[in-house]
């Protein structure tokens, strides 16, 4: 069964706002939340700025990201908030690129655990999400994306 990446409605809205504000350049950051039985469950997202991002390239800075993750975990009062993976936008209507897959696979192997990747692609009708998962052995599979509080079939 295909695993599922679930996004809280507020997280999905935050992604779209961040993506729109950065156009025509890419923007990205961290997916935060916990793992449920069905797969990663993103409750919050964090933007990790990249002043040098272009419309085809985004680099997620490690030091800035580590600082953001630390402060998010410290502020969390649920006891389960943590890093699940990466997200970034594509100002054009294309899903994850070969570069994206490779970068995600390398993170999963280095970390020794699953890494989710969410790409928001801008199309004529708005943003579309594409999700995949890389495991510690380097295997990559697509994830079904579900946003809480909206009709995901639309």
């Amino acid at each position: 069964m295909t695993k599922k990446l679930t996004l809280a409605g507020a997280a999905w809205r935050a992604l779209q706002v961040a993506g729109a504000q950065s156009l025509p350049r890419e923007i990205g950051g961290l997916l935060l939340g916990h793992y449920a039985e069905a797969g990663p469950h993103v409750t919050e997202i964090r933007v990790v700025p990249d002043p040098r991002a272009t419309r085809i390239r985004y680099r997620r800075d490690a030091m800035t990201a580590e600082r953001i993750l630390d402060s998010s975990v410290r502020a969390d009062d649920t006891g389960v908030l943590g890093y699940l993976g990466e997200w970034h936008t594509h100002p054009l209507p294309f899903g994850p690129s070969a570069t994206d897959v490779l970068a995600t696979r390398r993170l999963a192997i280095a970390g020794g655990h699953d890494i989710a990747l969410l790409v928001l692609a801008k199309g004529a009708r708005g943003w579309t999400g594409h999700a995949l998962n890389a495991d510690s052995a380097g295997n990559v599979e697509e994830l079904t994306l579900t946003v809480e509080g909206i009709d995901n079939d639309e």
Partner: protein, 344 residues
């Protein structure tokens, strides 16, 4: 995944869960709290208040009853706040301290029926011991119970044409005292026990009042809030009450010791149930007590929750009363590497 696995009810309650998780018991605080919400009467409470107030107003408009010193009070499970969804009836107890001694009880019921029929027409039905007024819009009825004074107690019409002692107001007071002694745990646990009866026995007799009386007696032997041995969670209270009730129900079924009316000394409780039905509830309760204890002491909260879910069944809306918590694992507390990945 390398993240530690834990179970939470909902994200926002993870901290509560973790704080309680170390005592080796499945207390499932949030699930029990939600279960109580699931059996709450909801809009029935407002309907019950409206219906009983209306009937009382009608009765207090009749001079004969006023001359007999009519004092109407709300009684029953709704008054004692142990009713569970749905509330199908509300009881109005009509104290008549100046009723003539020679008043025939059935004539008295006829009089109440006539007075109420003037207002409610064919919605009124005279029963052996009370007069029923239907409120079809609420899918509910009000039972009006006339009573004459008998010393410190009261007497109501019985099924054989005579009078029978009762003191429902005193039972309400005893229930309130029991609840206070047990740090407000008695009332919610009685609701859960009534719901358990419904889950295990459905429409079969004996009903919820029988379970409530057995629960009342069982709480006498549960250490109260002043004791260090007092149960310290709803789950434990519920389990201990099931355990304490099981032998009471068995003794009643076996005629070893009958259930007594707490409000009237030496008066056995009237129970409309067959021998087979009394045996059935005793059997079910013994098993429920064993199952609940096993769940309470389980290290596996999901297994425990599944047992409590079965014991509490569904409410009248068909919704599960008890929810099995979701299993989740925490996200990672650090990044997978010190690298800055580039995406394209």
């Amino acid at each position: 995944m390398s993240a530690p696995t834990l179970i939470i009810a909902l994200r926002e309650n993870a901290r509560d869960f973790q704080a309680e998780g170390g005592n080796g018991m499945s207390v499932l605080t949030k699930q029990f709290k939600d279960a109580l919400s699931q059996v709450e009467p909801g809009e029935d409470a407002a309907h019950a208040a409206e219906a009983h107030a209306e009937v009382r107003d009608v009765l207090h408009g009749h001079s004969d009853l006023v001359e007999w010193g009519l004092h109407s009070v709300l009684i029953g499970s709704y008054r004692r706040e142990v009713s569970i969804r749905r509330v199908k009836d509300v009881d109005v107890f009509c104290e008549l301290p100046s009723l003539p001694e020679d008043q025939d009880p059935q004539d008295l019921l006829d009089k109440f029926a006539r007075l109420l029929a003037d207002e409610y027409g064919d919605r009124v039905t005279k029963n052996d011991r009370s007069v029923k007024v239907d409120f079809p819009d609420f899918d509910m009825h009000v039972d009006v119970v006339p009573a004459r004074a008998a010393g410190d107690e009261w007497e109501i019409p019985d099924r054989d044409g005579g009078w029978e002692k009762t003191h429902p107001v005193k039972f309400s007071e005893l229930s309130t005292a029991r609840n206070q002694a047990h740090d407000e745990k008695y009332v919610p646990v009685v609701k859960l026990l009534r719901q358990t009866r419904r889950a295990l026995l459905g429409e079969a007799k004996p009903g919820g009042f029988f379970v409530e009386i057995a629960a009342y007696h069982s709480f006498a032997s549960i250490p109260d809030g002043n004791s260090d041995d007092s149960p310290n969670s709803t789950a434990e209270y519920y389990t201990v009450a099931l355990e304490k009730m099981a032998p009471i129900l068995r003794d009643h079924a076996d005629d070893v010791a009958r259930l007594m009316n707490p409000a009237i000394p030496e008066q056995e409780l009237h129970v409309r149930a067959t021998r087979a039905e009394l045996d059935a509830i005793a059997d079910k309760w013994e098993q429920a007590a064993v199952d609940a204890r096993e769940a309470l002491e389980s290290e596996n909260d999901q297994d425990a929750a599944r047992t409590f879910k079965r014991l509490l069944g569904q409410n009248s809306d068909g919704d599960d009363v008890f929810e099995v918590p979701v299993v989740v694992s925490a996200g990672h507390r650090s990044l997978p590497s010190g690298e800055s990945p580039t995406f394209g």
